[in-house]
Amino acid sequence: MGIWDPTHECMPREELEQLQLERLQATLHRVYKNVSCYRTKFKEAGIVPEDAQSLADLRNLPFTTKEDLRLNYPYGMFAVPLREVVRIHSSSGTTGKPTVVGYTRNDIKTWSNLVARFMTAAGVTHDDVVQIAFGYGMFTGAFGLHYGAEAIGASVIPMGAGNTEKQIMIMQDYKSTVLVGTPSYAITLADRMERMGIDPKGLSLRVGLFGGEPWSEAMRREIESRLCISATDNYGLSEIIGPGVAGDCEHKNGMHVFEDAFIPEIIDPDTCQVLPPGNVGELVLTTLTKEAFPMIRYRTRDITSLDYGVCACGRTVVRMKKTMGRSDDMLIIKGVNVFPSQIEEALVAIEGCEPHYQLVVDRKGALDVIEVRIEVTENIFFDEMKMQRAFLERVEKRIESVIGVGVTVRLVEPNSIPRHEGKASRVIDLRKM
């Protein structure tokens, strides 16, 4: 597989760190001068930009949170005058109200190239036909992948989200080779093809670029086998730039974070202390090349870990694990941290189990209980109650062994769990806190 920007993706660490330091210092001077929110935050912390003399000094700077973005709604966090902004996007609102972000002409160029990096890493070339099944509009996903594919020179089909049967028709007729969307939508597509009696082997699809929501390795395997493609993960969030922060290479052993443009840190979400490499915690990102909307230590709420080990692909930048969920999605069940994606992983691992599920968390007395609802399919429909009971026990055991907390599994009617063309909402928390 090719490398889009070998200079920046394969830099020796020492040179990379020098570049990061230079860009960090410049960014700090600019936000201090141009964004009152940062000036206030720095002053409150008794810090001036000159205090950042090494990358390690980053940890002394205050965090930026979604709340800051809301308080400065809509344009308060912009570091350039509005007339220099050529694009306005909004966060997809995974949690709470949307927030507004802006791009200069240079930012759009930077963004396109960052996306081109992970698309190239996933195997996309100018010979590909890229079908984008993300929603256009305020969401950054579709535009980011669109620009990246164009930068590479691939042919872009700006399909947009939903309209599943038409997606499949276009996929067949236009001979799309690359699918872009959420992983749950890839499953929806596979389901629909199955129902329509379409064999994915007859399609031209070969690569999938999935993002926008956390998904498990088991789900990756399922998508790969059901759609007969290489399914790659990529990571980004609109507050930082949209897609383009990190992405899988052909080895799929963690997403390469484009460190010349972003500095990642992992913190303990409770104590806010920076954790040593390898530890699981909340990802915090600082932008190094953004003009309109620089972010200093933005708390992403996404849970992951960083691996500074060498990757066989030749890229020297750090890799981040698939996100395991969001720190605000993280369920604390009987004092144990549980991520819905862990349960999903357990479910997909059980043969014949479709990953259409929902978690219902409740409190009985002082005790947290978790119920996992799974849709019945032909595979798990049993005539004998005894066999059904045995199946449920097997699932319960499996989940318990993964998350360390007992759960109840219940079968529900087929198609009774709401499907989303966009992001799946898997958790219902009925506890009154």
């Binding site: 210092q25 410049a26 001077h29 141009n34 009152s36 000159e50 344009y75 912009f78 005058p81």
Partner: protein, 249 residues
Amino acid sequence: MELLKVKNINTYYGQVHALKNVSLHLVRGEIVTLIGANGAGKTTILNSLSAVSPPRSGEIIFDGAPISALSADRIVELGISQVPEGRQVFKPLSVEENLELGAYLRFRHREKRSEIRKDMEEIFSLFPRLLERRRQMAGTLSGGEQQMLAIGRALMARPKLLLLDEPSMGLAPLVIQEIFAVIETLRRDRGTTILLVEQNARAALKMADRGYVLETGKVILEGESAELLENKEVQRAYLGREKKEIWER
């Protein structure tokens, strides 16, 4: 490969804090330009690197070795030559004598005269106008010729890194083109790495690979030249587009 790495240098003129934690780097064979208003610290960076105004704190790594504590002549020996603002040629001396002075340290090290002679001939082939005037007093040269001489003198030390301070200052457009063409030749044919300070920011950015934008002794932007040319703040402040007007809530 990085040729020069600067980390957090602070340089003072008496009480004046002229450079505040400046960090920058140059990759071998790169042309990098420094952009900023008068007094932003561009020349001070060059002077800090050449130890004309050594920094009070910070790190300068050149070709893998720290040089911030070295004297100016030692730095020339290691391969950094500066072409100062306003040329500063020795006016009563001939062109040849000026060039020989550029090789002063090589003479001191008893390098073969034939080697030095050969370099001088190369400089004459780079600047044929200097060859015509080799025995003429430097003070009688035109501004453009003096600039060529100043560059030639710096090259006589066989630098790996050339620091150029305002090479186009006060010159006619055609002469500027000539000087810029030579700078590009130096990089292309000799692989010389160049740090360029230039009043004409647009021309400098067109020639350079990357640039740093300075403001009151601080680096506020780093980027590839094409990006900086597109940056509205750079356009406003240094490329003479629109008037300065920082938007705030």
